[in-house]
């Protein structure tokens, strides 16, 4: 904001710079004071409340937290693995379904219908019901070749639900790429598939990165739903701990793990977005 110092800067400009510095300082001071007042006030209200002692013992007991931490941490590793495996499968399912839905080929009509039914059904069904149905229903079929490991049943349930969401996000991205981009690709002699792969899909994915991240953060949290079919992940361990201590500190510890795990993903997306903006717009 300040002009380069040195010769040739007019008095008027020096005066403007000085005013801008004063204004920036006073604005920063206002922001700091108001933040302290609001947060401090909230803290006082909570700490002065009549039930605070009991709440602290139930939710924020340091001793309980230390005791449960190693178990939750170990169990959370399962959440991470569930998430990572499901995420890859979801991307594969979603890209396939999204492309099937946008390809203008009449020969694909039955498959397209199937893709529409899939997205409608799995976006409409609560994830917890799908987890129940897959987790208990598939093993009950007793069919040869169907997975019996809870891990894979859980991954399949999450993939089915999130694949439908992510497919629709990607489809919106693909449709948002201007038709002239298709024309330019085809005009270079690229086939439909090549144009999709090298020109349309990369632009589509860039545009929908923020909503895509939303879905993946949500997926990270929903790995906790798999506790209901008996997977011993972080929430399940916290639950067992709550049953032992008759307090909820274990849940708070588990919640912290989930929060901390989503932050790197958010920062990574921010970084990627800014980088592509810089590169492509020369900002």
């Amino acid at each position: 904001m300040t002009s380069p110092a040195g010769a040739g800067v007019s008095r008027r400009q020096l005066e403007r710079d000085a005013y801008r510095r004063r204004r920036a300082r006073s604005r920063a001071a206002v922001a700091v004071v108001s933040t302290l007042v609001v947060l401090g006030g909230l803290a006082v209200v909570v700490l002065q409340s009549p039930g605070w002692d009991r709440v602290r013992q139930t939710y924020f007991d340091v001793g309980d937290a230390k005791a449960v931490l190693p178990d939750v941490a170990e169990a959370f590793w399962l959440n991470i693995r569930l998430f990572l495996v499901a995420e890859v499968l979801i991307l594969v399912v979603a890209i396939t379904v999204a492309i099937i839905r946008v390809v203008p080929s009449p020969a694909l009509a039955p498959v397209k219908l199937l893709a529409v039914v899939y997205t409608d059904v799995f976006r409409g069904t609560p994830t917890i019901l799908v987890v129940f149905l897959i987790g208990f229903g598939v093993p009950a079929l007793d069919l040869a070749g169907t997975p019996t490991s809870l891990f894979w049943l859980g991954v399949i349930a999450l993939t089915l639900c999130y694949g439908a969401y992510v497919a629709e996000v990607l489809r919106a991205g693909i449709l948002s790429v201007h038709p002239t981009q298709w024309a330019s690709g085809r005009a270079l002699g690229l086939s439909y598939a090549q144009t999709m792969r090298h020109i349309v899909l990369p632009q589509a994915v860039r545009r929908v990165t923020p909503p895509l991240l939303n879905d993946f953060v949500s997926l990270q949290k929903d790995t906790a739903l798999l506790s209901i079919i008996g997977l011993v992940e972080a929430l399940r361990v916290a639950q067992v701990d709550a049953g032992r201590t008759f307090a909820f500190t274990g849940y708070v510890v588990a919640a912290c793990f989930f929060i901390v795990a989503t932050i790197p993903l958010a920062r990574l997306t921010d970084y990627l977005t800014v980088r592509s903006l810089r590169r492509e717009n020369g900002i």
Partner: protein, 248 residues
């Protein structure tokens, strides 16, 4: 050519409608090897649609188009192979915004022609040098001026080494300061013997650069002939009227 003539391309009674609106009402045109043909005419006269039909971006409703001795309006023809040999540049440049200048130019030759990346990259750099943009190979389109983008779009088309180049009002979106640098590239191409069909509103340039002027009106070719004749002694009154309004 199978049915007489030595042209690169021949269109025969081509018709095209969008909904109820008939944009091309039977257009016939022959382009000889190395010829530079300018399509002139009011907006909506069918120039762009004709160009888009010629490289099969639009499907004709009737009539035939022959390219290099083959009828390319035949649905059994491999359209991708045809388009490799007919380049087109659009009014709005349409560069790929997620790819650098070099990647924009190399994509077609590598993916569509199956050239090696090194060959394609070497040619891209030679071409960029010729248009004075060698130092921008790593830049992204949105960081460049319109004139620079359009020159890159020209190079992207030329890098495919097409037999025929279609230019669709490629200077219309540029401000007058930038038009000159794009037209210079076309002058160069003409000197090298590139066959070019261009729709344009740049009358002075059309007169200077073309071997033949084709004046279109209402989806038909109203008149066609050498530039001197068209600009000084048009036969059709409609041509005369159009030129009176568009000549500086």
């Amino acid at each position: 050519m199978t049915e007489g003539g030595t042209g690169v391309l021949r269109a025969d009674a081509v018709r095209k409608s969008f909904g109820d609106h008939e944009v091309l009402k039977g257009v016939s045109l022959e382009i000889a090897e190395g010829e530079v043909v300018c399509l002139i005419g009011a907006s909506g006269s069918g120039k762009s649609t004709l160009l888009r039909c010629l490289n099969l971006l639009e499907q004709v409703d009737d009539g035939d188009i022959w390219f290099d001795g083959r009828e390319i309006t035949d649905p059994r023809v491999d359209v991708d192979a045809v388009r490799r040999d007919i380049g087109i540049v659009f009014q709005a440049y349409n560069l790929f915004p997620h790819l650098s200048v070099e990647q924009n130019i190399v994509l077609g030759p590598v993916r569509s022609r199956g050239e090696s990346r090194e060959t394609a990259r070497a040619r891209a750099h030679t071409l960029l040098e010729r248009i004075g943009l060698a130092d921008r190979a790593g830049a992204y389109p949105d960081a460049m001026s319109g004139g620079q983008q359009q020159r890159v779009a020209l190079v992207r088309a030329i890098a495919m080494q097409p037999r025929l180049l279609l230019l669709d009002e490629i200077t219309s979106a540029l401000d007058p300061m930038l038009v000159g640098e794009v037209l210079d590239v076309i002058r160069d191409l003409r000197t090298e013997g590139m066959t070019i069909v261009m729709a344009t509103h740049e009358m002075t340039f059309a007169r200077e650069v073309s071997d033949r002027i084709v004046f279109m009106a209402d989806g038909r070719i109203e008149e066609s002939g050498p530039p001197e004749q068209i600009f000084t002694a048009p036969r059709s009154p409609r041509t005369a009227e159009f030129l009176a309004r568009h000549l500086p």
